[in-house]
């Protein structure tokens, strides 16, 4: 499209040049014709004709064997007294022999009309080309709009596509354009493959977690029987302690993975008005009970902050954030909590987390080498945030970890 005006401009120039050449040629022919007519008239009247008519011809007798610019068209100008100006003419001079005398016949043709004509034709041509340009651009726009319409609607659908939310995704098979039909067909196929892979993956995690519950239960029960054995030695007790702890962590991890899978599968559909302020205060109270060395707490909790969500999920979200703030704290550290109607900000002192802050919310991403954490807490927070479209962000600055949750 950018080249179109350039091409049109080039064409105009070529057109102009060609027209000039044609005009020149035509004038030359006219001059030659005039020469012939005038000389014929001169011979017919035995040289008894007017020898000079301004702007038409002139006949001179000459002795020179040759004249300048013979048989070549030249430019000249003739003064018109009544118009008080010089007008451009073309002239052609040729030598003729008659009665042993040499004559020079010069014929004139006015250039004014032809150059006016050239200008008018050229302007007309410019107008036509401009109209053509506008028409081409306009039609092109309109046509491509209609032609690409299915493509853009496909694009939009793909952009809106979210694997976790709409498994039943399909594109129209009939768009009216063969290529886009093929594109939509391929995309629909691709997406249905991705969907089924995702679904299987989800199912796998859930099934695996489920199936692991029973062996975990067996290990746990056997361990309980073992620690109740009489004549247990201290060495054996230490080993049992380690096994119990590891098994417990495994159970927790498994339970959390199962929970994540369930949230993903939307198995917490019931929604109610949840009083976040009350829930948070209750949680903090419980946590203070749990931890001997509870960090210094600085609360700014607005009253009656309500969200519309599943109570257990909100409880899990708040508990995980609070627990995180306690666990990843420094000895003698601090926690700041600020709850407003629009969101929650939880800050705690701590050592900088290893790795990219963006990846903090991924599964099994551990900021520090706390062997007793599962590395799933923030993943759970993120997952719950996704369900209710909460915006959750993390940043670290000046020794403070800061997690902000903006309620939908």
């Amino acid at each position: 499209m950018v080249w179109l005006p350039v091409v049109l401009l080039a064409c105009s120039i070529v057109f102009y040049v060609l027209m000039r050449m044609q005009a020149h040629h035509m004038q030359e022919k006219q001059l030659l014709l005039k020469q012939e007519n005038t000389w014929n008239a001169f011979l017919g009247k035995n040289g008894q004709i007017e020898r000079n008519i301004s702007g038409e011809y002139s006949i001179r007798q000459t002795d020179l064997a040759a004249i300048n610019n013979e048989n070549a068209v030249r430019d000249t100008a003739i003064y018109y007294a009544e118009k008080k100006k010089l007008l451009p003419f073309q002239l052609l001079s040729s030598r003729y022999q008659w009665n042993h005398q040499t004559y020079v016949l010069t014929t004139y043709v006015s250039s004014t009309e032809i150059s006016h004509l050239i200008i008018k034709v050229f302007l007309t041509e410019i107008c036509i080309l401009l109209l053509l340009l506008i028409a081409i651009v306009f039609l092109n726009r309109k046509n491509s709009g209609r032609l690409w319409n299915p493509f853009f609607s496909t694009m939009q659908k793909i952009q809106e596509y979210d694997i976790t939310r709409n498994p039943g995704f399909s594109l129209p098979a009939e768009t009216g354009i063969t290529e886009f039909n093929a594109l939509n067909q391929s995309l629909t196929g691709l997406i249905s493959n991705v969907n089924s892979a995702y679904h299987h993956q989800k199912q796998f995690v859930e099934n695996a977690s489920h199936e692991m519950q029973t062996p975990l239960a067996i290990i746990r029960s056997k361990l309980e029987l073992l620690i109740n054995q009489p004549n247990l030695t201290e060495k054996a007790a230490a080993l049992l302690g380690d096994i119990t702890e590891a098994n417990d962590r495994l159970s927790q991890m498994n339970r959390t993975l199962l929970l994540l899978a369930k949230i993903e599968n939307n198995q917490f559909p019931s929604v109610e008005a949840v009083n976040v302020s009350q829930l948070l205060l209750q949680l903090l109270h419980n946590f203070k009970d749990h931890y001997e060395a509870f960090p210094e707490l600085n609360c700014d909790i607005a009253e009656g902050v309500m969200v519309h969500a599943n109570l257990s999920l909100i409880e899990i979200l708040l508990a995980n954030l609070t627990r995180n703030a306690i666990v990843h704290n420094l000895p003698g550290g601090k926690i700041n909590i600020k709850l407003t109607a629009s969101g929650l900000i939880m800050e705690n002192t701590g050592l900088p987390a290893e790795g990219n802050p963006e990846e903090m919310f991924e599964r099994f991403r551990k900021g520090s080498h706390q062997s007793r954490t599962t590395g799933l807490g923030l993943a759970l927070v993120k997952q719950i945030g996704n369900v209710y479209h909460y915006h959750i962000s993390y940043q670290y600055s000046n020794g403070w970890h800061r997690v902000a949750v903006v309620f939908g």
């Binding site: 489920h210 975990l216 309980e224 620690i227 109740n228 954490t373």
Partner: protein, 224 residues
């Protein structure tokens, strides 16, 4: 007390049976639905521990069968399914309690005992060990007739240990009993230690010394 355990996983079944036999229960174990029906028809039990997923039927069907024939057995469901819906369904079908796998045997024991007390003792809910008396109904504790004032958590902890008298109860089991799912992901069980410490001190003040014992840092045991 007669107990029937219906669980298809032989290893787990055996563990449960062993634990309850040590608690002086009369225990029988079956691995399938039809075996369980046979037993229920032939005998009366005080309590049934029931797995939902059985190879030849569902635990829920068994529950329906029980209620249909007006059997009065108390039922504790043990299941790998832990969603609220599963629990509600189980309880609606007439179960008395619901425990999710993996569970602690000490927790199962406490639940079964609580169930039996509720069903058969009609409020006579007093746990005793030596001169220690714990009344579940009034939530009061006394040592040689002196009232011991305990916090809610300390009371729950003591009741739990009394239910599992003479047995080592692991820290994890205590944590989960008191705080439920909130015990998940806790970086330490220090709070169990501090609760036990406080409890010991309070009991000692009222003259019940030497009841609570720590077992190699694995857990705690209440014994005379």
């Amino acid at each position: 007390m007669k107990l029937l355990v219906v669980e298809d996983e032989p290893s787990l079944l055996q563990s449960i049976l062993e634990y309850f036999i040590q608690e002086d229960f009369l225990c029988e174990g079956v691995a399938g639905y039809s075996d369980a029906i046979g037993r229920i028809d032939a005998f009366d039990y005080d309590c049934i521990i029931l797995d939902i997923n059985l190879p030849d039927g569902s635990g829920l069907q068994l529950l329906q069968y029980l209620r249909q024939y007006k059997k009065e057995e108390g039922v504790v469901i043990i299941s790998a399914r832990d969603s609220l819906d599963d629990k509600i369904t189980g309880l609606n079908f007439g179960a008395d309690d619901y425990l999710t796998k993996p569970f602690h045997l000490s927790e199962l024991n406490a639940r079964v005992k609580a169930l039996i007390r509720r069903k058969y003792a009609q409020g006579a809910s007093v746990l005793e060990a030596g001169n220690l008396r714990l009344d579940l109904a009034s939530r009061s504790v006394s040592c040689s007739n002196q009232v011991v004032s305990l916090t809610k958590n300390e009371f729950d902890l003591l009741a739990y240990l009394l239910n599992n008298k003479n047995r080592v109860v692991s820290k994890q089991a205590i944590a989960e009993h008191i705080y439920g799912q909130q015990a998940d992901n806790m970086p330490s069980f220090d709070f169990v230690y501090s609760q036990i410490k406080n409890l010991k001190r309070k009991l000692k003040e009222k003259g019940s010394d030497d009841l609570l014992h720590s077992v190699y840092g694995l857990g705690y045991k209440l014994s005379l």
